[in-house]
Each structure stands twice: as structure tokens, then as C-alpha cells.
Point group: C2
Chain length 188, copies 2
């Protein structure tokens, strides 16, 4: 038997290499992570044995779980891809939700996510200035359930804080048991 690798994996490696320099690391809820000097993002193969790394968080880009067609069409119209040259700041927000959240049925989770918390509606206001990619990792047996990666210009760091503050006040966030807020600046 050949050892099958998950080629969909994206590894976020906190260590001393990578083009993102760590500005700050805050444990918003639950256990913290060590603050590394840099972040390296590696796509494809497993890269956990990187020399000098403090931690490796792995995840995959998966299918949509809550977004409906009309919402997706609106989001697509306003979203900007990652990698905009003027986006010199970034954030990685690893999140874990409670067992209670995961025991809910699809309609119950969707109601809390959007009808009560307006996760999509709140986020959509910021899409023209903040690019983002959600990654899933709960089924991978990782310590977090989601890793969301955001890129924006340093001039919009305040808008990004505003977005996070709004989301953290929602009903949905009552189910968040661990959350780390890590900010980066692009370096060469």
C-alpha cells in the first residue's frame, strides 16, 4: 500500500521563514499559540517537519456550507481575489466551535449563522477592501475547525477591526470556544 497524500492541503506554518512577518498574536478565546517571527503558506503536500517551525495548521478549501445562490452571486460581484499588490497586511484567524454547535442540524446552524448573526451580510460590506479565503479543517482532526485568511491594505486595518468586532458580538460567536487573531505585514 502506498501512503496516500492529501494534495488539497494548505499548511500555515508559523516559523522563521515566509513572506509574512508577524505583527501581533492574540488569543481571543481558549489556549494561545506561540508567536513566530514569520508565516509561510505552503500548498499541496504535507510540510509539517519544516525546520524552525513552531506550529503548522493544516486545512483545505471546501464546498460552501451555508451560502445560498443569491448570496453567492452578490458576494462574487463584490469580492477581490487574494494577492492584490497593494494589500500589504494580512490576518489568520483560527477558530474552533463547540460540540454543541456541531450537534445542531443544518437548519439550526444556518439560522444562527445568517438569520440571527448576519455573518454574510456583515462581511459583505467589507469585501471591496478585504479579501478572504475560508479553509476547513475539522474533519482533518486538527486543533481548529476553520482557518480564515484575510488580506487588506494597512490603510484598512481599522475597517478589518470593525468587521471582527461586529462578528464577535453575534449569536454565532457564542459557540466559538477557541480563537486566535494573528496579524501580518508583507515582507520580501
Amino acid at each position: 500500500m502506498q501512503n496516500q497524500k492529501n494534495t488539497k492541503l494548505i499548511s500555515f506554518i508559523g516559523g522563521d521563514t515566509g513572506c509574512w512577518e508577524t505583527l501581533s498574536l492574540t488569543a481571543v478565546a481558549g489556549e494561545t499559540l506561540a508567536k513566530s517571527a514569520r508565516l509561510n503558506i505552503v500548498k499541496g503536500e504535507d510540510h509539517e517537519s519544516s525546520i524552525g517551525s513552531l506550529w503548522t495548521l493544516k486545512a483545505v478549501v471546501s464546498n460552501l456550507r451555508y451560502t445560498n445562490r443569491s448570496e453567492k452571486n452578490a458576494l462574487d460581484q463584490n469580492s477581490r481575489a487574494l494577492g492584490q499588490p497593494e494589500y500589504d497586511y494580512a490576518a489568520l484567524i483560527p477558530i474552533k466551535k463547540s460540540d454543541e454547535w456541531w450537534a445542531l442540524t443544518q437548519d439550526e446552524r444556518r439560522k444562527i449563522f445568517e438569520e440571527d448573526s448576519q455573518h454574510i451580510r456583515i462581511s459583505s460590506k467589507y469585501l471591496s477592501m478585504i479579501s478572504r479565503q475560508l479553509h476547513h479543517c475539522r474533519d482533518l482532526g486538527e486543533p481548529f475547525d476553520f482557518l480564515t485568511w484575510f488580506e487588506f491594505s494597512s490603510g484598512h486595518a481599522h475597517a478589518f477591526d470593525e468587521l471582527l468586532n461586529a462578528l464577535r458580538k453575534t449569536e454565532e460567536w457564542k459557540f466559538v470556544t477557541r480563537e486566535i487573531d494573528i496579524r501580518f505585514k508583507k515582507v520580501m
Copy 2:
């Protein structure tokens, strides 16, 4: 860095060991799998280097993706757990769905899954005689998206065929690009 293992993994190992003897293996759609003498089911750690195994399919039990509260309550009332002593037959149905399916939004997939195809409604009729567990593997980079495991008594093998025939005629099944139907008999 320690190599982090996915402790949620369940491995279905086609080889020469295990308490399930293979009765038949049919490729319903797409590429087939080799027919092994036995099936071994291993929970927890990665077990792909088993001696004498022809293939290992890995998956995890995950959260509900489409089922609503009222449907779950009805399903729970009629379901019987795996491992009933009189259930001497089993089936493993690995399935892969098309990229087109996965590009649909949540409301579009739910509509096809239940409102058009009555996946839950059709299946619920058989729950008192057929126990089942759905496993997810798409995010693990596996060759299939789902592995569903069924157990029933040999006297209900006909009812199981009826269930599969009904599901395979649905709108949802037009998105199935690979499906293997493997049947087993319990041995000591």
C-alpha cells in the same frame, strides 16, 4: 514538530483479514476497486500499511450537512445502531460526486438532495431493518467523497436492493461519477 495524526479517521481496509467476508463487488459507475477476500474496519490511527491489503479507504464521521431538525428527530426515532447481533450482512458504498455538484450552493444541493430526490424520505422507510453510518472523505483528498456503511440481516438483502434502486433513480444520482457496491457477510 510532531506529526499530528487524525484520530477521527476510520479506515476500511480491503485485504485478507477482518470479520467481513466479501460476497460481491460491483462498479456501478466509474473505475472499479479490486475485490478483496475480507474487509477490516479500523478506528483511530492511520493503518494503510496493513500487510496483504489491496486498498484502504479513509473517512470520518462528520456533522450533518442537509438534515433539518424535524427530519433528524424522525430519523432518530426509527434508527437502530450498528452492531445488531442478527445483522449478518453489510454493504460499503463508496461514492464520488461531480465537480458540478460541489460547485452548487447549499440551497441548490439541499433542493436536489431532498425536495427533488427525497433522499431522507426514501431512506427513512428502511431504517427499522437497515442500520447505516455515513462517513465523509472529500476534504481528506481521498478518491471518494463518501463511504456509507450499512448493516442488515440476510433476510432483508432484497429490501436493501430496493433502497439502492430507488436512490439510484433520483436526480441526485445524476451527479454521482463513481460508485462501488461491495457486499459482505459476517464471519468469525
